[in-house]
Subunit: 462 residues, 2 copies
């Protein structure tokens, strides 16, 4: 009997041969020093949070621009906000959105660590404030942590590491710099189970004037961010830091970031689990043109719109890198939902498909089991109920060949299984769902669910 | 570097040694014929929906009681309702809650099969109606299907199989009966990836009069039901059929079932994916006492409450069997959320913890990574926001030994890792979350996430 056969298999089969996980390291490549924003020095050092010697686990970013940089952030909406999330939020308030530094550690999330955790996060802020020149100010540093939840930081090691970067420290070993190597070290300090440092830069211009954006992020698991501006209730471990040498007012910087995060970091999923630490920061130090007027949504909407779109596209690039490096991922899948009556409905469905264990294991198995896509699509309540007779589903190959229609207006197509398998076997793939109800659409980026995901997360702490 | 190490592992590690999946077959045992409700004949035969010869894939249940049985059902709320779900709902309406038969097939879900699917489901109803004695009536059969989505039924094979059970068919090979063997065959006809038939019976009494309940269900994957009464918008593949020889009015039978399903089948999860077919049916034929008055919520609330509670406890037993047999499951985990201000909030949190990929992989890895439980708990919006300083989390061993407190009022305990690992290493385990906000609580039943789950669902159709 099939059931008996399954039973025997499940009891005695004890080894699996997995597909090789494609190397992702080619997604990291050298960037010319000239492409990075002006007025920042960075480094990443081994402070000892992680056991293995030499692994960067502490990152420091300082703005050297005479005026404090405008700062904005989106934080996790998880009810259990990690100490660094609470502290960074307070720093933003106290500094009225003007800061000069960012400090980040990997290896320990400083989350659910009670009062000690808050003291430790503040100690990291003060120690980094002390590095600032010419005149150190209080509360000019934002702090981020990522790693295991529920354990306290080895705070003395971290403080010693921060102090080692101060010219005032006798025999200091400061490695702060502005070269590609310095940016790369900082990016490495963000990494946990990431297999490559996530670092990108781009140049854009407004009214003929050139500005630069650069940023780094991390995250491979516990990735299903839901981040809002500081005012919002907090939720989401994805960390990201975006730096620009444009001058933007704090209020407008937050407005642009909130818009960008909804369409980038809040539209990716690796495993559907929200972290207590997710944080995306932006600093705009105006170093590209000292004394230039700040870009502002109200006074110069045209320039602001250019900046907002550049920031959004850049954030999408950084967000995709996290999915590309998803724990155990062998595929990079774009889920597009079109024809909705609202962005929210489209986004909800794209999110549900992107987090379905059955869809993700079928992708890993390269089984074109599109019925699971339908089941996921229909499984959530929406503002406008679905009309099954209007729903269509297609696989879109990324090699430019013709799409494969699986379901058209609720009726299954005679699917060419060979073609379906061909498309689903490629590393990149797009699943397109058309609702036929309206003109709103949303995109989500996800990966498959592999043996390696289970292995990595079955023994993360050991 | 850790990241490099991970990278190498993830690129080249290609085999895994999994823990042996414990056999679940001892959860199926013989039941005395006398324990089954009176007035039903059943069978399970191989009609040819499944490839493998001899595997039951068609189940038939007939009530032989002179009067039609009262019927009630809860159906999936998925927007893509499978044809048998739509048809069974219409049968309930047309028959005004009075039916005499149930027909079920496994191997093909007849879901997302368009017009042909509806015709096929109706054909199964008519063919089974024709088996009813003494006088066949139209629309007295409820139909259920489970298996692959998006494929049409081999309807001729199914109709031939149904007809083979009719005494009128020349050379018929009817195997309909009322012995344990007949009930077991019917239960086997429900199975897909189940490793054992799920069949239970219990006797209860109201006012000194004895009644019997018996039922069967199936489901091992795509298990995260959300079922409502026919009136409700439809969602959920879990199939279940509960039969009793008590006499209960259709309206009261539905009321009791809706209450029971919310606290049983709607409180289990294997993989968080809702099916298009989930259906739980109840038939009450009154055969225990022909002509006896029907139990009714309005006219005899005391008797009704006894029946409702018996039905609920019985439904919980059947629901737990599905989790126990979850695809690739090595553990049976009870998630209890207490101290909520509403059942809905408690149920939402229990559901989120029970579906967290990170919690489930940690359970498989027997890693007491309780921080993931916290992250899941805090990740969903609630009617009453959480106060982290009031939240406590404990592991409750099922061997009666002392519970292990992990977090107390938001502060982590110094956890005895050895003890935590000891508890998490047992096959059965309870995770208890105390919110400290109110007096409402909810329970959820889930399993772990293993290599086998990925294997089973990576090639379900092949």
């Amino acid at each position: 009997m099939a059931s008996l056969k399954t039973s025997i298999l499940r009891r005695f089969q004890s080894t699996f041969t997995s597909k090789p996980i494609p190397s992702k390291t080619h997604f990291h490549a050298p960037i010319p020093d000239s492409a990075f924003p002006k007025g920042y020095v960075l480094t990443g050092i081994h402070a000892g949070v992680k056991k293995k010697a030499g692994v960067p686990d502490l990152g420091i970013i300082l703005s050297t621009s005479p005026r404090p940089a405008s700062a904005a952030a989106c934080f996790t909406r998880n009810a259990f906000k990690a100490a660094p999330v609470v502290v960074s939020q307070q720093v933003l308030e106290k500094s009225q959105g003007r800061v000069r530094a960012v400090v980040v550690n990997s290896g320990c999330a400083n989350a659910v660590t009670g009062k000690q955790g808050m003291e430790d996060a503040w100690a990291m802020v003060s120690a980094t404030d002390a590095l600032l020149e010419p005149v150190p100010q209080k509360n000019e540093t934002m702090v981020m942590s990522t790693g295991v939840i529920g354990q306290n930081l080895p705070i003395q090691k971290i403080l010693t590491g921060i102090a080692s970067q101060s010219p005032k420290t006798p025999g200091n070993t400061s490695t702060l710099g502005s070269s590609f190597e310095a940016w790369e070290l900082a990016a490495r300090a963000f990494m946990t189970t990431d297999t490559f440092p996530k670092l990108r830069a781009r140049t854009f211009s407004i009214n003929g004037k050139e500005y630069r954006l650069a940023g780094m992020d991390k995250g491979a698991g516990m990735i299903h961010p839901n981040m809002g501006p500081p005012s919002g209730q907090l939720h989401a471990t994805l960390l990201g830091c975006i730096l620009t040498d444009a001058a933007v007012s704090p209020r407008s910087l937050q407005s642009a970031l909130t818009y960008a995060v909804d369409r980038s970091f809040n539209s990716i999923s690796v495993d559907g689990d929200m972290s207590t630490n997710d944080t995306i920061l932006v600093l705009a130090n105006g170093a590209a043109a000292e004394g230039a007027q700040e870009i502002d949504e109200k006074t110069d909407p045209a320039s602001f719109d250019v900046f907002k779109q550049e920031l959004t596209n850049f954030a999408i690039d950084l967000a995709k890198l996290v999915v590309r490096d998803g724990e155990g991922a062998t595929k990079f899948v774009t889920v597009s939902v079109n024809g909705a009556t609202s962005y929210e409905d489209a986004h909800k469905i794209a999110s549900r498909i992107s987090t379905s264990a059955l869809v993700k294991t079928a992708l890993y198995g390269e089984d074109a089991n599109w019925g699971r896509i339908l089941a996921a699509t229909g499984s959530i309540p929406l503002a406008t109920p679905l009309d099954p007779s209007r729903v269509s589903v297609s696989f879109i190959p990324t090699d430019g060949t013709v799409p494969l229609r699986l379901l058209v207006n609720g009726e299954p197509e005679k699917v060419n299984e060979a073609r379906a398998t061909e498309i689903i076997s490629s590393e990149d793939l797009e699943i397109q769902v058309e609702l036929g109800l309206g003109n709103e659409s949303a995109k989500y980026w996800t990966c498959d669910f592999s043996y390696e995901y289970v292995r990595i997360n079955g023994d993360y702490r050991t």
